[in-house]
Amino acid sequence: MMKSGNSTLARAALAVALFALATQAQAVTEIQWWHSMTGKLNDIVADIATKFNASQTEYKVTAIYKGQYDESMTAAIAAYRAGNPPQIVQVFEVGTATMMAAKGAVKPVYQLMAEEHEPFDSKGFLGAVASYYSDTSGHLISMPFNSSTQVLYINDDAFKKAGLDPANPPKTWPEVEQAAAKLKASGAACGFTTGWQSWVQLESFSAWHNVPFATLQNGLGGMGTRLEFNGPVQVKHIQNLADWAKKGEFTYKGRKDEPLAAFTSGECGMITTSSGSYANIKANAKFAWRTATLPYYADVKGAPQNTVIGGATLWVLNQKDKNMYKGIAKFFTYLSSAEVQEKWHADTGYVPITLTAYDLAKQKGLYTERPGFDIAIKELTNKPPTANSKGLRLGNFVQIRNIIDEELENVWSGQKNAKQALDEAVKRGNEQLERFERANSN
């Protein structure tokens, strides 16, 4: 009898406790933030959410890792179709056109911030960052988060061994070739390689030389864009790379980030890849190295222009519960503050997305402490972006990048010349654009 009385009492106590917990949870609105940041970046993202949660009591941002970029985007779309979308999802730059075409699924950030009366000035963002994610009237549709661009990394030790001066890194592509030849001659297995070939050697290459990648401002002007990266400047560059590959000066090491290992292991003396690789190289390279500006062709008029970004932004999905928006807007204000952005930049190597964060980093002496850390920002802000260098917005971009990768592999293996491969890539890519337009027209 005594026993059963005890357990009834215990159950009642538990019920009261649970009820208390439940009401407490109701008072705090939970905002789910789906992202694709792994390893150390995952910790930093969690830290941002924790600090925001500690700064106020009404909202709780929960950062959830949902797999790689394509996986988290697919998961968010599936959740939306099932009627239960997350509040914020991180989407990579190639998904931009798909997200923008999503009628009624996305809450544009400029609208959100205006409706919730949060301070928001799209002029405060780096031009090349804001333009990539703005609509035709210049309004930011998604919240810039992690952005990087392309830089050249050189192995100082290998340069010295080859009789080159690392303090004077190659500035133009012909100089890159000369340096690669000398590296080869000094016994290096590979002179130069590149990560993310489509992004570095065609997408950003076109912007850097102020030539179009696609019509209608590279697709920023709306639907109906067609690819045109088979112009003379791009064909010349890809053919040069092919010729250097034949001489063993340029070595193809894979489509995405795989080539980085060939640099950090010391095999290749130079690599053009993401500025976001800074931390990885710092952790893994057992030699002196430095960052340099992305090379260009001096004989192309207007070069260097500015590079384009890569990375991801945060998209707000339409919510049934309108109270969510206030919390999301407050979180975005916190996220884009100079302090948070400067710390994000310093911790990760991604560029600071606002000019005030850039100034703060300068004040703190970040760039004297880490020479070359600001090269990415200087490239992005080199000149005001033109129609060719604001960014790219292509439907079915994932497939188009695959097609470009495939056709470039045909060039590196000597099965096609640059002109044939780029013509074919444009033709196949345009079929993808047509397919996307068909799926997204009424």
């Binding site: 779309i77 179709r81 193809y252 290992a261 060939a262 079915n396 592999e409 799926a439």
Partner: protein, 293 residues
């Protein structure tokens, strides 16, 4: 006279098969019919706009020479994976069957790879064979052989075949070993007394008696090669170089999950489904005749 057990109740037999039917309906017929329906649609990723386009997705596919090339790659890949996977597993099982000392350890070790996820299996082999970091690559280079599957189509195919076979050998091994252990010892001993050597005993007695197992594994392995290998391709080669390792199921995954072209991906999976159904029917009609139960 034939003796039959008959259910007296009119509904009991249906009730007994109902769970089985329900599972088949929910997990096979329903998704398959969805795939059929979706293959006739063009839809944006968020399903905000849906158009019924009849067979346009199929027409686009068959107008794409790269998609057609994928059939040949898939055929070569599936034949290699099935034949090599069965042959190696059978060899290992025959050896394991003879081992007396340490048999358990040996068998356990052989079964381990089955517990490894496909993507992990691919990454393990990539670590060994990576053109920059791979241990085996360095050995091959030292021998004067240039191993670089990033640009060499044949080497890329070899890589995914090795990873796919390695992953499946344990499964085949288990079934072969069980099959071998059910071959009556008396038959083998009788043949030995008649003067048949080990090779002859194997081919005239053991191998025919294994034929039901072999046939079952043949069907399972072909289905495995067609359907379950996309994670290996994705992690090892991403379908490259060019499209040298883009097998059909990988393209379904790539277009549907990575690129969000659901209509095109559904059309591809319908084609894939038709191929596997045709292959399975063919196997049961023509190969099964040779099986001795």
């Amino acid at each position: 006279m034939e003796k039959r057990v008959v259910f007296k109740s009119p509904w009991l037999p249906y009730a007994l098969v109902a769970p089985q039917l329900a599972i088949t309906l929910v997990f096979f017929f329903w998704p398959a019919s969805q795939a059929l329906y979706w293959s006739l649609l063009i839809q944006d990723a968020f399903a905000a706009r849906t158009q019924f386009v009849w067979f346009d997705n199929f027409r686009d596919l068959f107008n794409d020479p790269h998609y057609l090339a994928s059939f040949q790659i898939t055929a070569v890949f599936s034949i290699l994976v099935t034949v090599i996977g069965l042959a190696v597993a059978l060899l290992l099982a025959v050896f394991a069957d003879r081992v007396v000392r340490g048999a358990k350890v040996y068998k356990t070790l052989l079964i381990w790879p089955y517990a490894v996820a496909a993507a992990v299996a691919a990454v393990l082999w990539v670590f060994l064979l990576n053109p920059t970091l791979g241990v085996v690559t360095h050995l091959l280079r030292a021998l004067g052989y240039d191993w670089n599957y990033l640009l060499n189509a044949r080497q890329a195919l070899i890589l995914i075949v090795i990873a796919a076979v390695w992953k499946q050998i344990s499964y085949n091994f288990l079934f072969f070993l069980a099959g071998l252990q059910s071959v009556p010892k008396s038959l083998i001993e009788a043949a030995a007394i008649d003067g048949a050597g080990p090779a002859r005993r194997f081919w005239t007695i053991v191998f025919p008696m294994l034929s039901p197992t072999t046939f079952f594994l043949l069907v399972v392995n072909i289905v495995y090669a067609f359907f379950d290998t996309f994670a290996i391709v994705d992690a090892a080669t991403g379908g490259g170089p060019v499209q040298a390792t883009a097998i059909l199921v990988f393209k379904v995954y790539q277009d549907g999950v990575q690129a969000l072209d659901l209509g095109g991906s559904a059309a591809q999976s319908v084609i894939l489904m038709a191929i596997v159904i045709a292959l399975t029917v063919a196997q049961f009609r023509f190969v099964e005749r040779k099986v001795q139960y």
